[in-house]
Structures are given as structure tokens and as C-alpha cells.
Amino acid sequence: MRVLLRTLSPLLGLALAAVGAIGVIEVVTAWVRPASSGLVVPWPAWQLVLSELTWSDRPVIVVSICVAVVGLLLLLVALLARRHDVALTAPTPEMTVATSPQVLARLVGRTVRESDDVAAATVSASARTVVVRAEGWPDPDGGFRGLTDTVRGRVSALLDELPLARRPRVAVSTRGRKEPR
């Protein structure tokens, strides 16, 4: 999202400047030469079209909805482009330590996969939650309590080791694997 934000910002800035410049040029041209039909924009033709179209015409409604959707998308990009860093405890107040959720997820994933009970695992992490989906073999009674406890224990031990400023909530889900161990 931040890449999109960085790309959109200069483009929209230039677009705004272009709209302003064209507006000034057209107003000054119409002022100096009232008989002209527009220097860049054919505004007399546009004026004619706009005076014939009504608000309830289909093209107007379609364009309105498109404008609203574009606005919503821009708003979403602006809201979602914040940093999602995971804060760590710094040794001094003059230092700020952070890492990315991807790094935390990779650390958790690596720790979980090291267990012999886990055949595969996918991890998603944020500063608040760590979600582990582990695949393994069921207990003799057919349940997955053992696998869940193993995964949860390993993740907890890792989170204890890491100097996280806020301990994330851990959610573990397990799935059986049909192949023999």
C-alpha cells in the first residue's frame, strides 16, 4: 500500500496542478478573447452538453458512481498505507526498535516447523496477533491436542525470548495429514 501511496501522490499532485493551470488559462483566455472557443478545453461544446444532460441521465449516474468508487479507493489507500511495525523494547529511551510483521511470522514459522510433530505450517503475524495453521499427525485418540500444545508451547517460548513491547495473542489451528509420519 505504501508503494501505491508513493506512486499516487506525485501523480495526483501533478494532476491537481494541471487542472488548476488549465482552469486559469481558460478563464484568462475567455476574459481576453470572449469570442474564442477555448485554448485547451473546448468549453463551449462542453457547456452545450452539460446544459442538455440532466442529473437523472444514465451517463451522469454512471460517472457519479465511478467518481465515488475512485474516491473510496483513494480513501482506503490512505487509511491502509500506515506502517504495521512490530515494536520491540529498546534498551534506552533514545532508541526505538521495530521489526516487520513478516519477520515475526518468519521467526514463528521457523520455530514451529522445527518440531517433529509439525509437517507444515503457515503463519500470519501482526503486532497484536500471531495466527499459526499447523499440519501434523493426530494423537492416538484421533485428536490434535498434542499438536496444538506443541505449537502453542514453541510459539510462547519464542515470544518469551523476543523483547516485544507488546505480547501478541496466539491463535493455533491444526489440521491432520493423511500420509504416514
Binding site: 495526483l12 499532485g13 501533478l14 486559469v24 476574459w31 490512505a78
Partner: protein, 220 residues
């Protein structure tokens, strides 16, 4: 002037709490701020969303069937504009100029590279002692990369000349004790840099990354 001279002249580091600007500086140094871009984009998005929604509602007759049947370029509005033509021309020109200035400012601000302030250690009339941002970053980066548990490190100066800060990206190895790496970065790298540069405070933002993906053996 040698480094020793600078140390003697500089304010003592002591144990006093760092000023608030130093604390803010370390938080700001984590990454380049995108706050202004986000605010402008949100503002533009909100305006477009509101305008599009209102126009669509108007078209669907929510505000009355009579209003929905009126032309986009309403004769009432055209007459009102023509009645004060001179005034509205100036208004249109002013709005256009404001859009040009704001648009160009936004574009230039977005494209401008992040500042890398040099450190002015002595700016007296007859001599100037300046440490370039690249020199500080290189020295600190090399020193950090030599720490145990650190695969590689990259440093850069950020902020302004008046309130410089250090951004340190550290790639830790699989065996690294993250807390110990952070402690060593402060005591062995940053504190040393502060001492060498004669700075009482230097806000630091550390970003931790994993050095490489290594698969742990599944079978012993």
C-alpha cells in the same frame, strides 16, 4: 580540532533524561513519514466520494424528482455567475492558482529524496569541522555489522541538521539473541558514535530484519 577537543567542549552525556525532541526523533527516524501524503490522499478521496455519492443520490431522485430532472449546468447557476462575472473570474483564477501551487508542492514533496544531514561539529568563524552523513553512516554500519548475531547492517543519517537521527537496519542471524543485539547496538555502537562525535544525544531507530532464510534440519 580533534575528536578529543570536541568531547571536551560538548555537553556531558550524564544520566539526565533525554529531551522530548530526542525521544520524538528516534520514533520519527524509524521510516520516512508518509503522513502528509496520506492526509492529502484521504482528503482528495473524501471529496471525490462525497461528490460522487451526492451526485448519484441527486440523480436517483433522493432529493426530489424535480431536482433530478434539472440540467447539470443549471440556468439558475449560470445566470448567477453571469450577474457577477468579474468577481467569479477572479475567484476561478484564484482557485486555479491555489490548485497549481498545492499540486506542485505535493508532487515535489513526494518526489524529494529524504534528507541526510551532515553533522557540524564546529562552525566557528575561522574553521569548520563537518562530518558527512555518509561517513557517519559508513562507520556505524560497519561497527554494527561486526557485532555477534548480526549478519549485515546499514545505517543512514536522517532528520534535519538541527535534530539529526540515525536509522539503523540490522539483519540478525538465526542464532542471534535479539535483546542482546539491541543492547550491544546501544552500548557498543551508538554510545561510541555519540562519544566520537561529541553529541550528548543522538536518537536512533533500529529496524530488525532476518539475515536469510535457512531451513533447520528436520532429521538430526
Amino acid at each position: 580540532m580533534s575528536t578529543t577537543d570536541v568531547q571536551a567542549d560538548a555537553p556531558t552525556t550524564g544520566t539526565a533524561a533525554p529531551p522530548r525532541r530526542v525521544l520524538r526523533g528516534s520514533r520519527r527516524a524509524v521510516a520516512r513519514s508518509a503522513r502528509v501524503d496520506r492526509i492529502w490522499l484521504a482528503l482528495l478521496g473524501f471529496v471525490l466520494l462525497a461528490a460522487g455519492t451526492l451526485a448519484a443520490l441527486l440523480g436517483y431522485g433522493v432529493f426530489g424528482a424535480g431536482r433530478a430532472a434539472r440540467p447539470l449546468l443549471d440556468p439558475l447557476i449560470v445566470d448567477a455567475l453571469r450577474a457577477q462575472q468579474q468577481l467569479w473570474r477572479w475567484v476561478a483564477i484564484a482557485v486555479g492558482v491555489v490548485l497549481v501551487v498545492l499540486g506542485l508542492w505535493w508532487a515535489v514533496r513526494s518526489l524529494r529524496p529524504e534528507r541526510r544531514p551532515d553533522l557540524l561539529l564546529d562552525g566557528s568563524t575561522d574553521s569548520t569541522l563537518l562530518v558527512t552523513a555518509g561517513a557517519v553512516a559508513g562507520a556505524v554500519g560497519d561497527r554494527a555489522a561486526a557485532l555477534p548475531g548480526v549478519g549485515r547492517a546499514r545505517a543512514r543519517m536522517v532528520g534535519s541538521t538541527g535534530t539529526p537521527a540515525l536509522r539503523l537496519t540490522v539483519w540478525v542471524t538465526d542464532e542471534a539473541d535479539v535483546a542482546d543485539v539491541c543492547r550491544r547496538l546501544e552500548t557498543e555502537v551508538v554510545a561510541e558514535a555519540r562519544r566520537a562525535l561529541g553529541l550528548a544525544h543522538l536518537p536512533v531507530a533500529v529496524r530488525l530484519e532476518l539475515d536469510s532464510v535457512t531451513q533447520a534440519p528436520r532429521v538430526a
